[in-house]
Amino acid sequence: MNRRLRMWVLLLGLAGTAAVLAAAAFRLPAFGTDFHPYGDRAVREALARQTANTVAAVNFDQRAFDTLGEETILFAAVLGTVVLLRQARDERHVEPAPADVAAPVRRYALVLLPVTLVAGLYIVAHGQLTPGGGFQGGVVAATALHLLYIAVDYRALERIRPLGVFEVGDAAGEAAYLVIGVAGLLAGSSYLANTILPHGTFNTLSSGGTVPLLNAAIGMEVACAVVVLLARFLDQAVEIEGEGENAGGNAGEGERK
């Protein structure tokens, strides 16, 4: 297929997509009206299960199976990255050098790290009540740990980051979601059905049945997955040298193993 023909095929495809999109757009309900057939049903279902945050009810109750798919995509993506970015045979391991960062920045990181971690866990725990949930809070909590790399250096991060534990946590979070789903089956209902727990009082931490539990599972999976993912990127950028890759330049030779 030559270039000219390829361009024609591309144009044809684009024109078709544009035509279909335009046709669909004209049949959409008008913007800003109060006609929300899907929204009304979702809100009704969410309130029936005492879940204050309708988005959480949609994600972890009404279409919890979709979320399982999304979680699995993240799990598989991180697994793929871990395999791709491993230390290859022609690469060697270099000890990271200490970085000199201004003392106020270092102190700020040490104070902000636990605060950010608690804020992340707060967002995970209150996913069924306020905006946020397992994914958002998990990423915030994982970012908190990396303050140690950003504001101190890689050696400090490596000391509080037992990578094996986080790899197990990643898998355990994924497994917990599956197990909660099976619990619905065992309780005599369908997979991931929100029937195994009482729905609780509206707008309290224990409301929403399985929604908070699924949120916690996702939070654990995402936080651990981000830590493992960033660990691979950091290893490649800081610790692993390829063939003929002389990152130390002329100074700092003493750091090389």
Partner: protein, 66 residues
Amino acid sequence: MRCFDGRMAWGRVSGVVEVAVWWAVLFALWLFLISTVDALEILVGGLVSLVGAATAAAARRAVTDR
């Protein structure tokens, strides 16, 4: 030898104090973040603050002791 033991014991005490202070600060933060206070909130907040306090102490040690 005794001097060494003494230093170890002091290190352990100061470590516990450090975690306790951090726990109190983070628990207060949790109380300001949440909107309604009930028993479960306090339990979860206590556990989360403990995780945060332990991480804070570990991070401080990773930066200073080396």
